[in-house]
Symmetry: C2
Subunit: 510 residues, 2 copies
């Protein structure tokens, strides 16, 4: 046990102001979360939730619509009643204990490897939207060009550590082969770690094969080259497509996130407590299955939850109820000794206006204080996840920079206390030119490149731009400045050959 | 000691959805904060900061530019070197212990009395801007009409518990008498508690006299009728104007907030640690003086701090460094057993755009998690405090509603766990029509009246309004619907007579 729970250490950290973009990117690093964690629920409350989840798993059960998954569950002593699996209480703890507390996911640039779990925090972009939005063209269907744009913007950001997965759906490509273009785009236009396809077992197998070509077949068995997102079809149901992907990845020892997908009031009760009971049961059922397939496979406890507006049925992001559920689900994951995925810059708003920003921080600050390990949707999310916003992406990223600084915590060294400076400046004087201020000029305070701190008059004279107008200029400038990271030509060729061959082989199902 | 620290209990709480506005206002209540507090710094860190503050108070000292204040300090054993007061370490604890941990401030509607301190949270509007902003007319100088509008909007909100003070500067009125119009407007157009003038000792005395007319002279000695804001002219300096007000209020046993006003890098070192040392020293110096003047006078430990952008010198609101200072200053106040004031919906942004909202929640969520007792600037702040925004006010208030719900915490009653409902809904089914959902329909989830949760198509067809556009409509509707709370005609007449008489008496100083 203990061996698997060791943490990688000694990574290079810290970026100084005034560096070129390349220098900043070169020093990219995940933040280490050494601040206290906000523990909202008591141990007794966590006990009650977990006991209730175990009762649900044992007495009511979870459905698995996949023959091989059912056979594996049965072979490991799970009682099956049709598709419904009933898990004994002891079995849950036994299999959860086999999953590692932390693991390293490979990036093709080893400096960009990420540690998932423990004190490490990983930010990844939005996942899944079929639409994109920018101020110039409004909302429209996402295309491969947009997908690649977001891969590039993520690569350029020092505050996003992971390239994500289906950042947007490239709707201009055939459904049955677009996973190949997405995986190839991550491999080609970024050198950060990325996610595999979960749209079918065959697509997952393609993702594994491409990861083998990029990282090496042995290498990805030692440390996963893919981290992929398995959603529970809540309530209490894993579907065939997701289970096919889960089995494929677990057999190849590629990392998985098991995420109940819950809107309280719809797929879960109209109550945070009951939602947590269900979430914990569903996540554990999927996690147990991964360990039955391949003990020690890296797996992340996931929680995607918010509530609906009961009057209209619409999902509500940034709600106070979802904050509470986020804090408590993080506590449950830690109790199980598992890495945790949740949160993000969620918003119900359609454009990057004040509502979008209020909602986003209402989720993202709890995400940070709860010490979420893997934060999907950390930039770009709009409209309940239906749209990836270019301006929203750039604005969210400003906040991610602030969270990096926040996580450095309180410095009470001699330099942090600055006692000499306190005595040196006269009553009513100022610290603008002190030796201490000059010494700390570049590092004392984080500086957003995009937020406006000018006087009203200067802001007005320069065009009175709102934040999303400035972000519009900024994302276009970044894309113009993009330079791809070098990729070994033989690997590029192998990937291209594979994609070309598979496109000929794959016959659409209908 | 213990007697003074007793808390008032048994206040009516809770508002159900579907009530009329009058019913909601009638049930107004402060939230009780029974969630865990986010304790960022260790006990050792707090010790180090406090010890450093005591050394600063003793060895370096704080200046008091006011003869009577100096005489009072000297009479109580403080060493004075010119205007510079040096406080012994033991003296600080002795006088701080005389201040109450909680107190009740009177409202003219006793149901609106507020408890300041302990587990109670009080939200008050923005304070001090000389400008107002709305989308129709842009930014302009604030007038009495604006002041009264914000008093009305605050009165109408179930989520603001206090009418505040100088919500905006009524720049259309003579400087030397405008305090009379402001105090009268609070008394006339709202029945919530309010703040007194701090622009001079004479203006403070006018505020006390008007509070006596409204509440009764004996009544405000038992429980304060005014809570007033004394800013330290940092670094390490109390000026004549503020000290005159402080003495006047303390002698009348009216509550005070002692607030160091610190931008790290300007009035404090370019370091959070040193800023906290200074803040703690300055706040304690003022608090000790209040207890020397009138032991037991209610006094609040205040902290207004953020940092400047060292490149431009401009104040930066919503910064990660200011979050850390906020969490830790709250811990210091609790350590002293004092009510705490800090935080608010701060923003550097000029209009209610995404930047304003990101910044505001970056301060306000820590404000809630740190259990700040009195939150000035909880709605309406823009442009570093130079502007009160009508739309910003209404948008901020949506968040205050969410925080009320958040503070209710996690319900793990049988209804909160909903175990029957979990078993009842089939795999892949939904909870929309369950008995549990119908039972909890109105109370399960907080609903913002202004945030948009519609489909993109519906939002687009209805005009594709951004949040600040909707807020523009909302604030005008509220002002049209405003109805003043009844005021005893004899009290109204006494207040009007006093204001008229004083306007004749007061001769401008220059």
């Amino acid at each position: 046990m203990e061996q698997r729970r060791e943490r990688r250490t000694g990574r290079r950290r810290g970026a100084a102001a005034g560096d070129t973009e390349a220098e900043v990117i070169d020093r990219i690093n995940q933040p280490v979360h050494r601040l206290p964690i906000y523990e909202l629920a008591s141990e007794e409350a966590l006990d009650l939730i977990h006991r209730s989840s175990l009762a649900l798993l044992s007495d009511v059960g979870i459905d698995f619509y996949h023959d091989e998954a059912q056979a594996i569950l049965r072979a490991h002593g799970v009682r099956l009643d049709g598709a419904t699996a009933h898990f004994d209480r002891e079995m849950i703890a036994e299999y959860v204990a086999q999953a590692p507390a932390t693991f390293t996911q490979l990036a093709r640039n080893p400096e960009r490897n990420v540690v998932i779990g423990g004190e490490f925090v990983t930010f990844a972009p939005v996942y899944g939207p079929p639409f994109v939005y920018d101020r110039d063209r409004g909302r429209r269907e996402a295309r491969l060009h947009d997908f690649q744009n977001f891969v590039k913007l993520t690569y350029q950001s020092p505050y996003l550590h992971h390239s994500g997965g289906t950042i947007v759906e490239p709707t201009d490509l055939p459904v049955h082969t677009r996973h190949l273009d997405m995986v190839y785009s991550h491999a080609r236009y970024s050198d950060k770690p990325f996610m595999g396809s979960v749209t079918s077992a065959a697509n997952a197998a393609d993702s594994v094969r491409m990861a083998e070509l990029l990282f090496g077949a042995d290498e990805i068995r030692a440390n996963p080259g893919l981290l992929s997102l398995i959603n529970v079809s809540s309530p209490r149901r894993f579907d065939d497509r997701m289970l096919g992907s889960l089995l494929t990845y677990a057999k190849a020892r590629q990392a998985l996130i098991i995420t109940p997908f819950l809107f309280s009031g719809a797929m879960a009760p109209a109550a945070v407590g009951g939602t947590l009971v269900q979430l914990n049961a569903e996540a554990l059922a999927g996690i147990v299955l991964t360990q039955m397939i391949s003990p020690g496979t890296p797996v992340v406890y996931g929680a995607f939850q918010t509530n609906i507006d009961l009057q209209s049925g619409a999902p509500v992001f940034g709600s106070p109820e979802s904050q509470i559920a986020l804090f408590v689900s993080a506590q449950l994951a830690r109790r199980h000794g598992l890495p945790f995925r949740s949160g993000g810059m969620f918003a119900s708003a359609k454009v990057a206006d004040a509502q979008a920003a209020y909602e986003s921080v209402m989720v993202m600050l709890p995400t940070v204080l709860a010490r979420v390990n893997f934060v999907l949707h950390a930039a770009g999310w709009l409209e309940g996840g239906l749209t990836a916003g270019y301006e929203k992406f750039i604005l969210d990223e400003q906040l991610l920079g602030m969270f990096h600084k926040f996580l450095q915590g309180l410095d009470l060294s001699d330099n942090g206390l600055a006692l000499d400076s306190l005595a040196e400046v006269a009553p009513g004087g100022h610290h603008l030119g002190t030796a201490h201020t000059l010494l700390n000029f570049r590092t004392a305070f984080h500086r957003s490149e995009l937020f406006d701190y000018n006087s009203f008059e200067q802001w007005y004279e320069e065009g009175a731009q709102t934040a999303d107008e400035r972000a519009n200029t900024a994302y276009k400038r970044r894309l113009r400045d993009y330079e791809p990271p070098a990729l070994d030509p033989s690997k590029d060729e192998a990937l291209r050959d594979y994609v070309a061959r598979r496109k000929l082989e794959i016959v659409p199902e209908n």
